[in-house]
Protein backbone atom coordinates (compact mmCIF):
# COMPACT_ATOMS: atom_id res chain seq x y z
CA UNK A 1 0.00 0.00 0.00
CA UNK A 2 2.74 2.35 1.02
CA UNK A 3 4.77 1.55 -2.05
CA UNK A 4 1.83 2.18 -4.32
CA UNK A 5 1.23 5.56 -2.76
CA UNK A 6 4.85 6.49 -3.23
CA UNK A 7 5.03 5.39 -6.85
CA UNK A 8 1.73 7.12 -7.53
CA UNK A 9 3.13 10.30 -6.07
CA UNK A 10 6.26 9.86 -8.09
CA UNK A 11 4.30 9.39 -11.28
CA UNK A 12 2.38 12.58 -10.48
CA UNK A 13 5.60 14.42 -9.90
CA UNK A 14 6.98 13.19 -13.21
CA UNK A 15 3.82 14.26 -14.95
CA UNK A 16 4.08 17.66 -13.31
CA UNK A 17 7.63 18.01 -14.52
CA UNK A 18 6.66 16.89 -17.99
CA UNK A 19 3.80 19.29 -18.38
CA UNK A 20 5.90 22.32 -17.58
CA UNK A 21 8.75 21.39 -19.86
CA UNK A 22 7.09 20.45 -23.11
CA UNK A 23 9.57 20.29 -25.93
CA UNK A 24 7.81 21.08 -29.13
CA UNK A 25 8.50 19.75 -32.57
CA UNK A 26 6.70 22.21 -34.85
CA UNK A 27 5.83 20.45 -38.09
CA UNK A 28 5.18 23.82 -39.67
CA UNK A 29 3.93 23.69 -43.21
CA UNK A 30 1.52 26.46 -44.04
CA UNK A 31 -0.34 29.57 -42.97
CA UNK A 32 -0.62 28.49 -39.35
CA UNK A 33 3.17 28.72 -39.10
CA UNK A 34 2.74 32.49 -39.19
CA UNK A 35 0.57 32.31 -36.09
CA UNK A 36 3.07 29.92 -34.60
CA UNK A 37 5.74 32.59 -35.05
CA UNK A 38 3.45 35.00 -33.29
CA UNK A 39 2.99 32.51 -30.50
CA UNK A 40 6.75 32.32 -30.11
CA UNK A 41 6.99 36.08 -30.29
CA UNK A 42 7.05 38.53 -27.43
CA UNK A 43 3.36 39.21 -27.25
CA UNK A 44 2.03 35.74 -26.50
CA UNK A 45 5.29 34.30 -25.31
CA UNK A 46 4.74 30.59 -25.08
CA UNK A 47 7.83 30.44 -22.86
CA UNK A 48 5.58 31.29 -19.95
CA UNK A 49 4.15 27.80 -20.25
CA UNK A 50 7.47 26.07 -20.37
CA UNK A 51 7.04 25.07 -23.98
CA UNK A 52 9.64 27.58 -24.95
CA UNK A 53 12.07 26.30 -27.43
CA UNK A 54 11.22 24.41 -30.58
CA UNK A 55 13.20 21.24 -31.01
CA UNK A 56 13.78 20.52 -34.63
CA UNK A 57 14.84 17.00 -33.96
CA UNK A 58 12.03 14.58 -33.22
CA UNK A 59 14.29 12.61 -30.89
CA UNK A 60 14.45 15.53 -28.49
CA UNK A 61 10.81 16.47 -28.58
CA UNK A 62 7.80 15.15 -26.75
CA UNK A 63 5.05 17.21 -28.29
CA UNK A 64 4.33 17.21 -31.98
CA UNK A 65 2.62 20.37 -33.09
CA UNK A 66 1.23 19.86 -36.56
CA UNK A 67 0.98 23.38 -37.88
CA UNK A 68 -0.79 23.70 -41.18
CA UNK A 69 -2.14 21.68 -44.04
CA UNK A 70 -0.90 18.14 -44.45
CA UNK A 71 -1.15 16.86 -47.98
CA UNK A 72 -1.18 13.27 -49.13
CA UNK A 73 2.41 13.71 -50.16
CA UNK A 74 3.41 14.79 -46.66
CA UNK A 75 1.46 12.14 -44.77
CA UNK A 76 4.25 9.51 -44.79
CA UNK A 77 6.73 12.17 -43.68
CA UNK A 78 4.51 13.13 -40.78
CA UNK A 79 4.04 9.50 -39.81
CA UNK A 80 7.77 8.94 -39.81
CA UNK A 81 8.38 11.96 -37.62
CA UNK A 82 5.70 10.80 -35.22
CA UNK A 83 7.32 7.40 -35.02
CA UNK A 84 10.69 8.94 -34.29
CA UNK A 85 9.50 10.88 -31.27
CA UNK A 86 10.27 9.06 -28.01
CA UNK A 87 7.49 7.92 -25.72
CA UNK A 88 5.54 9.43 -24.12
CA UNK A 89 4.47 11.89 -26.79
CA UNK A 90 1.53 14.11 -27.46
CA UNK A 91 0.14 15.46 -30.68
CA UNK A 92 -1.60 18.79 -31.05
CA UNK A 93 -3.32 19.54 -34.30
CA UNK A 94 -2.95 23.25 -34.90
CA UNK A 95 -5.68 24.78 -37.00
CA UNK A 96 -8.49 23.61 -39.15
CA UNK A 97 -6.45 22.19 -42.01
CA UNK A 98 -4.51 19.82 -39.80
CA UNK A 99 -7.61 18.84 -37.86
CA UNK A 100 -10.02 18.12 -40.67
CA UNK A 101 -8.61 19.38 -43.95
CA UNK A 102 -10.69 22.53 -43.64
CA UNK A 103 -12.04 23.82 -46.90
CA UNK A 104 -9.48 21.94 -48.93
CA UNK A 105 -11.69 19.00 -49.74
CA UNK A 106 -9.88 17.76 -52.78
CA UNK A 107 -7.56 15.22 -54.32
CA UNK A 108 -4.41 16.30 -52.55
CA UNK A 109 -5.25 17.32 -49.01
CA UNK A 110 -5.44 14.92 -46.11
CA UNK A 111 -8.86 15.08 -44.39
CA UNK A 112 -7.36 15.55 -40.96
CA UNK A 113 -4.14 14.19 -39.55
CA UNK A 114 -6.02 11.65 -37.46
CA UNK A 115 -6.08 9.60 -40.63
CA UNK A 116 -2.36 9.18 -40.13
CA UNK A 117 -1.46 9.67 -36.48
CA UNK A 118 -3.48 9.85 -33.27
CA UNK A 119 -4.26 13.35 -32.01
CA UNK A 120 -4.65 14.51 -28.43
CA UNK A 121 -5.89 18.07 -28.79
CA UNK A 122 -7.50 19.79 -31.76
CA UNK A 123 -7.36 23.55 -32.13
CA UNK A 124 -10.04 25.09 -34.34
CA UNK A 125 -9.54 28.34 -36.20
CA UNK A 126 -8.00 29.17 -39.53
CA UNK A 127 -5.44 30.04 -38.35
CA UNK A 128 -6.18 29.89 -34.62
CA UNK A 129 -5.40 32.90 -32.49
CA UNK A 130 -2.40 32.42 -30.22
CA UNK A 131 -4.85 32.59 -27.34
CA UNK A 132 -6.52 29.47 -28.62
CA UNK A 133 -3.18 27.72 -28.81
CA UNK A 134 -2.39 28.70 -25.25
CA UNK A 135 -5.78 27.32 -24.22
CA UNK A 136 -4.88 24.10 -25.96
CA UNK A 137 -1.56 24.01 -24.17
CA UNK A 138 -3.32 24.31 -20.81
CA UNK A 139 -5.67 21.57 -21.90
CA UNK A 140 -2.77 19.36 -22.83
CA UNK A 141 -1.05 20.06 -19.53
CA UNK A 142 -4.19 18.90 -17.73
CA UNK A 143 -4.17 15.82 -19.86
CA UNK A 144 -0.57 15.08 -19.02
CA UNK A 145 -1.25 15.49 -15.32
CA UNK A 146 -4.11 13.00 -15.65
CA UNK A 147 -1.67 10.55 -17.26
CA UNK A 148 -3.91 10.73 -20.27
CA UNK A 149 -2.95 10.94 -23.88
CA UNK A 150 -2.77 8.32 -26.56
CA UNK A 151 0.83 7.28 -26.19
CA UNK A 152 0.66 7.23 -22.40
CA UNK A 153 -2.35 5.00 -22.54
CA UNK A 154 -0.53 2.74 -24.94
CA UNK A 155 2.42 2.46 -22.58
CA UNK A 156 0.08 1.71 -19.72
CA UNK A 157 -1.70 -0.91 -21.75
CA UNK A 158 1.47 -2.63 -22.79
CA UNK A 159 2.68 -2.66 -19.21
CA UNK A 160 -0.52 -4.24 -18.00
CA UNK A 161 -0.57 -6.74 -20.79
CA UNK A 162 2.95 -7.77 -19.94
CA UNK A 163 2.00 -8.06 -16.31
CA UNK A 164 -1.02 -10.18 -17.12
CA UNK A 165 1.05 -12.45 -19.28
CA UNK A 166 3.54 -12.81 -16.50
CA UNK A 167 0.80 -13.58 -14.01
CA UNK A 168 -0.76 -16.13 -16.32
CA UNK A 169 2.55 -17.77 -16.97
CA UNK A 170 3.31 -17.74 -13.30
CA UNK A 171 -0.13 -19.09 -12.46
CA UNK A 172 0.04 -21.85 -15.03
CA UNK A 173 3.51 -22.89 -13.92
CA UNK A 174 2.37 -23.16 -10.30
CA UNK A 175 -0.61 -25.21 -11.44
CA UNK A 176 1.56 -27.70 -13.23
CA UNK A 177 3.91 -27.96 -10.33
CA UNK A 178 0.97 -28.59 -8.05
Amino acid sequence: MGLEATTGRLADAVAWARKYSLFTYPFATACCAMEYMSLMGPRYDVARYGAEFPRFSPRQADMLLVVGTITERQAPVLKRIYDQICEPKWVVSFGVCASSGGFYQNYTTLPGIDHVIPVDVYIPGCPPRPEQVLDALVMLQDKIQRHDGYSQRMIELEKREAQMKKKKKHGSSTETSA
Binding site: E72, A75, T108, P111, H115, V116, E161
Partner: protein
Protein backbone atom coordinates in the same frame (compact mmCIF):
# COMPACT_ATOMS: atom_id res chain seq x y z
CA UNK B 1 0.01 44.38 -73.70
CA UNK B 2 1.09 45.53 -77.08
CA UNK B 3 -0.80 45.90 -80.33
CA UNK B 4 2.34 46.54 -82.37
CA UNK B 5 3.97 43.32 -81.22
CA UNK B 6 0.88 41.34 -82.13
CA UNK B 7 0.79 42.90 -85.59
CA UNK B 8 4.42 42.05 -86.16
CA UNK B 9 3.85 38.47 -85.06
CA UNK B 10 0.93 38.11 -87.45
CA UNK B 11 3.01 39.58 -90.22
CA UNK B 12 5.87 37.24 -89.46
CA UNK B 13 3.94 34.00 -89.15
CA UNK B 14 1.12 34.76 -91.63
CA UNK B 15 -0.73 31.44 -91.93
CA UNK B 16 0.78 30.17 -88.72
CA UNK B 17 -1.53 32.46 -86.75
CA UNK B 18 -4.87 30.79 -86.34
CA UNK B 19 -6.68 33.64 -84.62
CA UNK B 20 -6.06 36.79 -82.65
CA UNK B 21 -8.05 38.79 -80.19
CA UNK B 22 -7.59 41.62 -77.73
CA UNK B 23 -10.21 40.90 -75.10
CA UNK B 24 -9.95 43.43 -72.24
CA UNK B 25 -6.79 44.83 -73.73
CA UNK B 26 -4.80 41.60 -73.62
CA UNK B 27 -3.39 41.03 -77.10
CA UNK B 28 -3.51 37.35 -77.82
CA UNK B 29 -2.38 35.21 -80.72
CA UNK B 30 -3.35 31.59 -81.15
CA UNK B 31 -0.65 30.06 -83.29
CA UNK B 32 0.04 26.72 -84.84
CA UNK B 33 1.41 24.11 -82.47
CA UNK B 34 4.43 23.25 -84.57
CA UNK B 35 5.56 26.86 -84.74
CA UNK B 36 5.74 27.65 -81.05
CA UNK B 37 9.47 27.10 -80.64
CA UNK B 38 10.55 29.13 -83.59
CA UNK B 39 8.02 31.84 -82.81
CA UNK B 40 9.24 32.13 -79.24
CA UNK B 41 12.86 32.32 -80.33
CA UNK B 42 11.95 34.99 -82.86
CA UNK B 43 9.93 36.94 -80.31
CA UNK B 44 12.79 36.89 -77.87
CA UNK B 45 15.58 37.82 -80.24
CA UNK B 46 14.03 40.29 -82.66
CA UNK B 47 14.76 43.92 -82.12
CA UNK B 48 11.69 45.88 -81.21
CA UNK B 49 10.05 42.87 -79.58
CA UNK B 50 12.62 41.61 -77.11
CA UNK B 51 10.36 39.43 -75.00
CA UNK B 52 13.12 38.44 -72.65
CA UNK B 53 10.90 37.17 -69.86
CA UNK B 54 8.37 34.40 -69.79
CA UNK B 55 5.95 35.69 -67.22
CA UNK B 56 3.81 32.64 -67.02
CA UNK B 57 3.21 29.34 -68.72
CA UNK B 58 0.08 27.39 -68.06
CA UNK B 59 -2.61 25.33 -69.73
CA UNK B 60 -6.38 25.45 -69.92
CA UNK B 61 -8.75 22.51 -70.27
CA UNK B 62 -11.84 23.28 -72.33
CA UNK B 63 -13.41 19.86 -71.81
CA UNK B 64 -16.62 21.22 -70.30
CA UNK B 65 -17.06 23.71 -73.13
CA UNK B 66 -16.60 20.94 -75.68
CA UNK B 67 -14.07 22.91 -77.64
CA UNK B 68 -11.68 21.34 -80.12
CA UNK B 69 -8.76 21.07 -79.51
CA UNK B 70 -9.34 20.29 -75.89
CA UNK B 71 -6.28 21.91 -74.31
CA UNK B 72 -4.58 25.20 -74.77
CA UNK B 73 -1.09 26.01 -73.57
CA UNK B 74 -0.80 29.67 -72.70
CA UNK B 75 2.43 31.66 -72.74
CA UNK B 76 2.51 35.12 -71.18
CA UNK B 77 5.48 36.96 -72.59
CA UNK B 78 6.91 40.12 -71.15
CA UNK B 79 9.58 42.45 -72.40
CA UNK B 80 11.38 44.13 -69.55
CA UNK B 81 13.26 46.51 -71.82
CA UNK B 82 10.33 47.73 -73.90
CA UNK B 83 7.64 47.22 -71.26
CA UNK B 84 5.27 45.28 -73.42
CA UNK B 85 3.41 42.05 -73.07
CA UNK B 86 1.92 39.48 -75.35
CA UNK B 87 -0.08 36.32 -74.86
CA UNK B 88 0.60 33.40 -77.17
CA UNK B 89 -1.51 30.31 -77.14
CA UNK B 90 -1.33 26.95 -78.86
CA UNK B 91 -4.10 24.42 -79.10
CA UNK B 92 -3.30 20.86 -78.06
CA UNK B 93 -5.60 17.97 -78.96
CA UNK B 94 -6.37 15.30 -76.40
CA UNK B 95 -5.10 12.37 -78.52
CA UNK B 96 -1.65 13.78 -78.99
CA UNK B 97 -0.83 16.10 -76.08
CA UNK B 98 2.69 17.10 -77.05
CA UNK B 99 4.18 20.58 -77.44
CA UNK B 100 7.75 21.58 -78.15
CA UNK B 101 9.64 22.74 -75.11
CA UNK B 102 10.77 26.32 -74.69
CA UNK B 103 12.87 25.70 -71.60
CA UNK B 104 16.13 26.51 -73.32
CA UNK B 105 14.73 29.84 -74.47
CA UNK B 106 13.60 30.86 -70.99
CA UNK B 107 14.98 28.87 -68.06
CA UNK B 108 11.84 29.32 -66.04
CA UNK B 109 9.88 27.22 -68.50
CA UNK B 110 11.58 24.14 -67.14
CA UNK B 111 9.51 23.98 -63.98
CA UNK B 112 6.43 25.51 -65.54
CA UNK B 113 6.35 22.79 -68.18
CA UNK B 114 6.82 20.15 -65.54
CA UNK B 115 3.84 21.62 -63.72
CA UNK B 116 1.69 21.54 -66.85
CA UNK B 117 2.68 17.93 -67.43
CA UNK B 118 1.87 17.12 -63.83
CA UNK B 119 -1.51 18.78 -63.67
CA UNK B 120 -2.75 18.50 -67.26
CA UNK B 121 -0.79 15.64 -68.78
CA UNK B 122 0.61 17.63 -71.66
CA UNK B 123 4.07 16.44 -72.61
CA UNK B 124 6.82 18.75 -73.75
CA UNK B 125 9.10 17.37 -76.41
CA UNK B 126 12.84 17.52 -75.68
CA UNK B 127 12.30 18.62 -72.10
CA UNK B 128 15.35 17.47 -70.11
CA UNK B 129 13.56 16.40 -66.95
CA UNK B 130 9.91 15.54 -67.44
CA UNK B 131 9.00 14.52 -63.89
CA UNK B 132 6.01 15.36 -61.78
CA UNK B 133 6.58 18.45 -59.68
CA UNK B 134 3.61 19.13 -57.42
CA UNK B 135 2.13 15.67 -57.08
CA UNK B 136 3.98 12.53 -56.08
CA UNK B 137 5.29 9.99 -58.56
CA UNK B 138 2.74 7.38 -57.52
CA UNK B 139 -0.16 9.65 -58.39
CA UNK B 140 -2.33 8.30 -61.14
CA UNK B 141 -3.94 10.78 -63.51
CA UNK B 142 -3.72 14.52 -63.99
CA UNK B 143 -5.75 16.36 -61.38
CA UNK B 144 -6.52 19.63 -63.15
CA UNK B 145 -8.13 17.92 -66.10
CA UNK B 146 -11.83 18.58 -65.94
CA UNK B 147 -12.67 14.89 -65.97
CA UNK B 148 -10.62 14.20 -62.86
CA UNK B 149 -13.04 14.30 -59.90
CA UNK B 150 -12.14 16.98 -57.39
CA UNK B 151 -12.31 14.75 -54.34
CA UNK B 152 -10.86 11.53 -55.68
CA UNK B 153 -8.13 10.75 -53.20
CA UNK B 154 -5.09 8.58 -53.70
CA UNK B 155 -3.64 8.12 -50.25
CA UNK B 156 0.01 7.38 -49.83
CA UNK B 157 -0.35 6.34 -46.22
CA UNK B 158 -3.32 5.66 -43.93
CA UNK B 159 -3.80 4.20 -40.49
CA UNK B 160 -5.90 1.05 -40.30
CA UNK B 161 -9.53 1.90 -40.99
CA UNK B 162 -10.84 0.86 -37.58
CA UNK B 163 -8.42 3.23 -35.87
CA UNK B 164 -9.57 6.11 -38.04
CA UNK B 165 -13.19 5.26 -37.35
CA UNK B 166 -12.63 5.33 -33.62
CA UNK B 167 -10.64 8.53 -33.76
CA UNK B 168 -13.35 10.25 -35.74
CA UNK B 169 -16.12 8.91 -33.56
CA UNK B 170 -14.10 10.18 -30.61
CA UNK B 171 -15.59 7.92 -28.03
CA UNK B 172 -14.28 9.27 -24.75
CA UNK B 173 -12.36 6.71 -22.76
CA UNK B 174 -12.26 4.18 -25.53
CA UNK B 175 -8.88 5.21 -26.82
CA UNK B 176 -7.91 4.57 -30.36
CA UNK B 177 -7.01 0.94 -30.12
CA UNK B 178 -9.88 -1.56 -30.34
CA UNK B 179 -10.69 -3.39 -27.19
CA UNK B 180 -9.03 -0.82 -25.01
CA UNK B 181 -10.79 0.34 -21.90
CA UNK B 182 -11.40 -0.70 -18.31
CA UNK B 183 -13.85 -3.44 -19.13
CA UNK B 184 -11.53 -5.16 -21.54
CA UNK B 185 -8.73 -5.04 -19.07
CA UNK B 186 -10.90 -6.70 -16.46
CA UNK B 187 -12.05 -9.36 -18.87
CA UNK B 188 -8.61 -10.32 -19.95
Amino acid sequence: MSKAALDRLVEHLRDGVISTHAHRGDETAVIDRSLIRSACLWLRDTEGLEFNMLSDLTAVDYYTMGREPRFEVVYHLHSLTLKQRLRVKVGVPEEDPVVDTVCDIWQVANWCEREVWDLYGIRFKDHPDMRRILMYEEFDGHPLRKDYPKDKRQPLYRRPQHEIDEALAGRPGSGHRPGFGPRNLLES
